[in-house]
């Protein structure tokens, strides 16, 4: 097990090193093959681990070496393999591999050197994420946490010649850093109270922590999760992260990065279950984010932006699940969401590829007949995310909503409203893109083509997973067995459930499905035949501009900070510090210029000075006693 885990983690790292260091020597083929092989091998190893665990191998912690070893704090570099991390391993390496495969065709237009750089970053991304989920303590998790932050920065700013992309990359990094601070403080707090940050020790000692400590730690951890998993108020980086290549968006949104926050809270479920206040906060923030970003997604016209806001919204659902104690449901939704969101993003990538980097859905339409495979798979993804049974999204979303209903029916009502919006904007996107008439230029229409096999195969695989992925968690009421819940039961302590009556549960499902179906039909009828999307007015305009949140942040945070920076730069630095330092120089300069005048070259002047000095010296010499006395008595 020890070697197996090391292999899983180190293979992508080797891929990163080889592709990164020899990026000028590789060909398209060798680079793509190396990158895909490492991830595929990792995936196979992960599958073996997963299999071993489901065969009854117990979870274990394997220690490699001492990472930090001081008198009072010992942090081992150790991996913890249990059912939760094994499941994440599968998602990360599996979907990661499909995205690698897809990228090898999608990124063909890049120069070989940048192609290799791209795959190096991609491998590093997977490596960091694996480190994050495998770490046996919060420190190792934090290393991976920072690693994915770095990789997202590198990949969002992959086309670094475009300044706007660089700004988006910086925004992502800074937003993440704000969250990271919370995470870091939580780790410090844990270490200060318990002396170490190993999961096993922390969870075993929860009862030793005071209620205030637990609340503070969980809140701080949640701040970290907010940054990484794009929750209000730190979500604005995720839509901007669309600046990166499309497969990167798929990777960030599906397999890595944004799921880190969910993983962290699911991993810390023991802590969160002990902090009721934090749970309320998590649920409320999650629900608000889900609704808020769903409203924004309704009016976006960039195919990737719609998907980005839908990710934020779905992450909100996961946090709602975490907040109401449905940790299994949240992790389940992470899994199904990884399937259909990767599918949707890769499908969008295929569309963008066919449209020659056109992302505006107003210029698309009628792509159904040109891109048959993309169309079918995209449609399946849309149905899955809308929560129509028996597609995967239905089961996971329903589990979260049922748990929310148990906690508070209001949560459920708002959640269903969000689900309706999800269905609406997804099918608005689908209808405007694939149905109706083509609205682009003649030239574009001429070039429309289905993507190569390396891009369609991942789409097909993901479509199949999106359709059947939900069956691992069929709720009891539908006569199924919650396999995932059973699988995770060793890690996630099941909450004491007062199970809902079956009738209630049927009703809840019925309502959410009915609402989603109505939204779908409405969206399709509304948008499939329209020749042109009219410009938004009124509330629509506000939504199109994302509630002006970016502008708000600019006004209340960015601009004052810039002004403060400008103040320090122009006033404090220029006239204060520079003025002081230069002033000393200028003063010495001035003084020496004045003293230089004494050396006039006039012999008479020299002699006069000599005589005067001699007189003064004689005077002092003769009267030294009196002068001494005068100084002593008068001055001291």
């Amino acid at each position: 097990m020890k070697t197996l885990l090391a292999i899983i983690v180190l293979l992508p790292f080797c891929g990163f090193l080889l592709n990164g260091l020899f990026r000028k020597h590789g060909t398209y083929k060798s680079v793509a093959r190396l990158a895909c092989t490492t991830i595929l091998s990792s995936f196979i190893a992960s599958a073996i681990v997963f299999g071993m665990l489901s065969q009854g191998t117990t979870a274990e912690t394997v220690k490699y070496f001492d990472f930090i070893n001081t008198d009072s704090i010992k942090i081992p570099f150790a991996f913890q393999i249990d059912h939760l991390s094994a499941m994440f391993l599968l998602i990360i390496t599996g979907i990661g591999f499909l995205i690698h495969l897809y990228s090898s065709a999608y990124m063909k237009d890049e120069e070989p050197q940048h192609f290799a750089r791209y795959f190096a970053y991609l491998n590093l991304f997977i490596f960091s994420m694996l480190l994050l989920v495998l770490g046996a303590n919060y420190i190792i998790m934090f290393i991976g946490w920072e690693g994915v932050g770095l990789c997202s920065y590198l990949l969002i700013g992959f086309w670094f010649k475009n300044d706007n992309f660089n700004y988006a990359a910086k925004k992502a990094f800074i937003m993440n850093r704000i969250g990271d601070l919370g995470f870091l403080l939580a780790i410090f707090w844990l270490i200060a109270r318990l002396g170490n940050a190993n999961y096993a020790d922390v969870f075993a000692n929860v009862h030793n922590l005071s209620q205030t400590d637990i609340t503070a730690i969980t809140l701080l951890l949640f701040v970290g999760a907010m940054g990484k998993s794009a929750q209000i108020p730190l979500y604005t980086w995720l839509p901007d992260a669309m600046a990166g290549p499309t497969p990167v968006s798929a990777l960030i949104h599906a397999a890595t990065m944004v799921t880190a926050g969910i993983y962290m809270i699911a991993r810390s479920n023991v802590l969160y279950s002990a902090a009721e206040f934090t749970q309320h906060i998590v649920a409320i923030v999650g629900l608000t984010t889900a609704l808020f970003s769903a409203t924004i997604a309704i009016k976006q016209n960039d195919i990737k932006k719609v998907l980005a806001y839908s990710t934020v919204s779905q992450l909100g659902y996961m946090f709602l699940g975490l907040g109401v104690g449905a940790y299994t449901g949240a992790v389940f939704h992470v899994m199904t969401h990884a399937f259909f969101k990767a599918l949707l993003f890769l499908g969008a990538g295929s569309v963008i590829h066919a449209m020659h980097h056109e992302q505006d859905i107003r210029k698309m339409g009628g792509l159904k007949k040109y891109l048959p495979i993309t169309h079918i798979t995209f449609l399946l993804g849309c149905i899955a995310i809308s929560g129509i049974p028996p597609f995967s999204g239905f089961f996971s979303k329903d589990e979260i909503l049922a748990a929310a209903y148990e906690k508070n029916p209001v949560y459920w009502g708002l959640g269903v409203a969000g689900a309706a919006m999800t269905a609406f904007y997804m099918f608005r996107l689908y209808a405007t893109t694939f149905l109706g008439k083509f609205r682009g230029t003649q030239d574009q229409e001429h070039h429309l083509h289905e993507s190569p096999a390396a891009m369609t195969i991942p789409l097909i695989v993901l479509a199949v997973l999106s359709v059947i992925g939900g069956f691992v968690g069929v709720p009891e009421v539908l006569g199924g067995k919650h396999l995932l819940g059973e699988y995770l039961s060793t890690v996630i302590v099941p909450e004491p459930h007062h199970a809902l009556a079956h009738n209630t549960e049927y009703m809840l499902m019925g309502i959410s499905v009915a609402v989603a179906t109505i939204a779908i039909l409405f969206a399709v009828s509304q948008y499939s035949k329209k020749p042109q999307l009219e410009d938004a007015t009124g509330l629509g305009k506000v939504l199109e501009n994302k509630w002006y949140v970016d502008e708000l942040y600019n006004t209340i945070i960015v601009n004052p900070l810039n002004a403060l920076g400008g103040f320090f730069k122009n006033i404090v630095e220029k006239s204060g510090i520079d003025g002081f330092v230069n002033g000393i120089g200028r003063f010495v300069n001035y003084l020496s210029r004045q003293i230089r005048l004494v050396q006039s070259g006039q012999v008479g002047g020299y002699i006069l000075m000599m005589v005067v000095s001699v007189v003064i010296i004689l005077f002092i010499w003769i009267h030294d006693g009196e002068i001494y006395k005068f100084l002593v008595t008068k001055l001291f």
């Binding site: 070259g601 012999v603 008479g604 002699i607 006069l608």
Partner: protein, 111 residues
């Protein structure tokens, strides 16, 4: 003759020398003034030497005081003569270069 007369005379001559050095611009006159100061000191040296000699003759223990001060003056005069020759040579060279003996032309040390 009391020693005070000599002292006052020396001081007067010395001050005339200083005043001349400070106020005149002609190098030859400055040079002469320097000689004045030198000789004022010489005069004082001789006067004190004579005074001590006279005092030692009247002293009860007959401590002999020589005339080293007066001998010293001769040495000073020899050195002064050498110095004058050097100084005059400098003035001659200066006149050759600048066609003037004005000390204010010698301001090359400036800057």
């Amino acid at each position: 003759m009391p020693i005070q007369y000599y002292i006052i005379l020396s001081m007067v001559i010395f001050c005339i020398g200083i005043a001349g050095v400070l106020t005149r611009r002609n190098t030859i006159i400055i040079f002469m003034c320097i000689e004045l100061m030198l000789n004022a000191v010489n005069l004082l040296l001789v006067a004190f030497s004579k005074m001590h000699y006279a005092a030692s003759l009247n002293a009860p223990n007959h401590a002999t005081v020589g005339s080293e001060g007066q001998l010293f003056v001769f040495f000073i005069m020899v050195v002064a003569a050498a110095e004058v020759s050097v100084g005059l040579a400098i003035i001659v060279m200066m006149f050759r270069n600048t066609h003037s003996v004005d000390a204010n032309f010698l301001n090359r040390l400036k800057n």
